[in-house]
Subunit: 246 residues, 2 copies
């Protein structure tokens, strides 16, 4: 795009964990100044980030929905899955680059914080070296969860660890034993394995199970009281640290 | 306080990492509705959280500064230090309880997120079982840092770990080797030890050194380019994960 005098700007805008009031003042302002608002969603579903930010989108702003490809028929570790996902992010980046090259400000809205486990990162990696880019940090989903639960999570010299429940049981147990505080994500069908790992590591008594942590209908209970029957993919388990309090 | 019909409410209000615009809409509203705004500060210094929130404090609101005791003459592991700190938090909680018992809404403003390594947690532990309490989650200091630096920190099934630089060198190296992404806090005089631990764990090439991460005069450089000469206590080192990108 040499010779362009009016380069646009890429904004990665965190809109927080779900409560629209947990958006930052900066996110609200950034959306008000955007020419184009892009958001990720599953085909056939509303974008969560768009729902959160809805009241801050300027009237008549151009929207650019980025619809994840349907990959349910592909194993996650397969080349086919990786190729499909890579092509999707390449195409999304190309669409956004076209807007940026035309001098427009494009805000990509993201649940939580843009650079912490967010899809936006795939666009950032493809575009931030080519266009002026700014990140608006957001409240993470995990902050939303422990705040809703009123659970102090880490203090002083605590080690704090975020773990995916997809890890093998012995790895989960080892990491849970090796940290003062933990957040375990992507619980879903891994709940029975996670419970065994918490038991092995001695952390089960403090573990809290949370579904829809930042919604009005949140479910927040000791994990010991939650049956292994079913858990949604986005359920989290908190293991608070700060065991020695002055 | 039996018989009180008009109990007050305790609000733990995160004001974010430093940029006043990274306050949430909810924090701004909560401050507008508070009868009393409490904030921690070192004796003789302005409260950082008050500086961040200044423009949102209602005119004439009652302010309750909570001034940390001067403990520089006491070793941190001593009984004297612990007793002094415990007495300070006890007295601060007593002052706030008096306001809550009088039916007032007391907002304790906190840098970052109230329940993530924040002083507010000491008040929460003393008061939340006795008075209605609500937490307003905030953008953490570490989100502010990686956003200012434009560094994607963790993705997918990455393990993410927050480590205090106060750990022994071998513990630091072991944890740095055992995580995809890390944030190391409280760097200060521990920088030479931390550098050795990063070297041992093979993570030095990716490590980023950050001072005043969310300020206009932020310093963000590869740790390899930062001399060991001096580092402030609040400097952080980021080790980004997400090494395998689709």
């Amino acid at each position: 795009m040499s010779g362009a005098t009016n380069s646009g700007k890429l904004l990665g805008v965190g809109v927080g964990p779900g409560d629209p009031e947990l958006m930052t003042l900066k996110a609200a302002r950034a959306l008000g100044e955007a020419d184009v608002v892009a958001h990720f969603a599953k085909t056939g579903n509303a974008s969560h980030s768009r729902t959160i930010a809805a009241q801050h989108l300027p009237a008549g702003v151009t929207e650019l929905p980025l619809l994840y490809p349907v990959t349910t028929e592909l194993p996650k570790c397969s080349d086919g899955y990786r190729d499909t996902i890579r092509d999707f992010y390449d195409e999304a980046a190309t669409k956004i680059a076209a807007q940026l090259s035309a001098g427009r400000v494009v805000a990509v809205i993201c649940e939580g914080d843009p650079l912490f486990y967010g899809s936006y990162m795939h666009l950032h990696a493809r575009l931030a070296s080519r266009f002026p880019t700014e990140i608006v940090a957001g409240v993470t989903g995990m902050s939303g969860c422990w705040s809703a639960a009123g659970i102090p999570i880490a203090q002083g010299d605590d080690i704090f660890t975020v773990l995916p429940a997809t890890l093998p049981e012995d790895e989960l147990a080892r990491h849970l034993h090796d940290t003062a505080a933990a957040v375990v994500m992507k619980v879903g069908r891994h709940l029975p394995k996670l419970r065994r790992a918490l038991q092995t590591s001695g952390r089960l008594p403090r573990a809290i199970y949370i579904e829809r942590g930042t919604m009005a209908d949140a479910k927040i209970i000791p994990l010991a009281l939650k049956p292994d029957d079913d858990a949604p993919y986005f359920a989290v388990v908190l293991v608070p640290g700060w065991e020695e309090r002055p």
